[in-house]
Amino acid sequence: MSYKSPEETGTPRWVKVFGVIAALVVVLLIVLLVFGGGHGPQRHGSSPAAGVTMPQ
């Protein structure tokens, strides 16, 4: 009979939970990138017309 340590009992539950959360976050980010109008410096741009102007 082969001995199995307590750590060798399949994937722990916390790993599965982490995996599901990570997958959901990745899917959410992909959806935001695809349908949210892009990402990157150009999105945060410098045009005054694109955002709130500074108080003078």
């Binding site: 001995y3 340590s5 307590p6 750590e7 060798e8 994937t11 722990p12 916390w14 790993v15 982490f18 990157g40 410096p41 150009q42 999105r43 945060h44 741009g45 410098s46 045009s47 005054p48 694109a50 955002g51 709130v52 102007t53 500074m54 108080p55 003078q56």
Partner: protein, 169 residues
């Protein structure tokens, strides 16, 4: 490769200092990001964008690389290994993802700082607050994993453990 005890403690200390320092620096960065978003004073907003850019390049990026490098040495030079335990693997993934995103985000910080430097009008961007909040969550998860070290061997770790048990018989 197993590190000598003295070197192991040195690398461990460097890893804790750089990782917790990174977490603390992100908290400071978040304060600046919130100030840039909420302050009514032009100079405060402008100064916050300039400070975030400097902080990104000269505090966050060096700390991120120091944390990643010392973490790699620490795990490869001890019995923990890099791919044997799930918590080490998750920490590695978090560290790599956070470092890559940070490097990419420095472009945005440069663009925001250029606008703050050159234009009379500034975009009030929620981007630094959102990114710093996400980074804070990631680094808190990594820190929690490092402290609690939840059990769980990867299939590779289980195989290595069996091999070690067989050779020790």
């Amino acid at each position: 490769v197993t590190l000598a005890p003295r070197l192991r403690k040195f690398v461990f200390t460097a890893h804790v200092v750089s990782s917790v320092g990174w977490l603390g620096a992100i908290t400071g960065f978040l304060a600046l990001a919130v100030a840039s978003l909420t302050s009514d004073e032009t100079e405060t907003v402008r100064g916050a964008y300039l400070a975030m850019d400097v902080m990104g390049w000269f505090v966050l990026v060096p700390l991120a690389f120091a944390s990643l490098l010392t973490g790699l040495v620490q795990s490869l030079g001890t019995h923990w290994g890099l791919f044997r335990h799930y918590w080490v693997l998750f920490k590695l993934l978090i560290n790599v993802v956070a470092t890559v995103l940070l490097l990419m985000y420095t472009q945005t910080l440069d663009a925001l700082a250029d606008t703050a430097r050159e234009s009379d009008h500034l975009l009030r961007s929620a981007s630094p607050t959102l990114h710093a909040s996400a980074a804070l969550v990631l680094l808190l998860v990594a820190t929690t994993l490092a402290v609690y070290k939840p059990r769980g061997l990867t299939p590779y770790g289980q195989r290595k453990q069996r091999e070690a048990a067989q050779t020790s018989r």
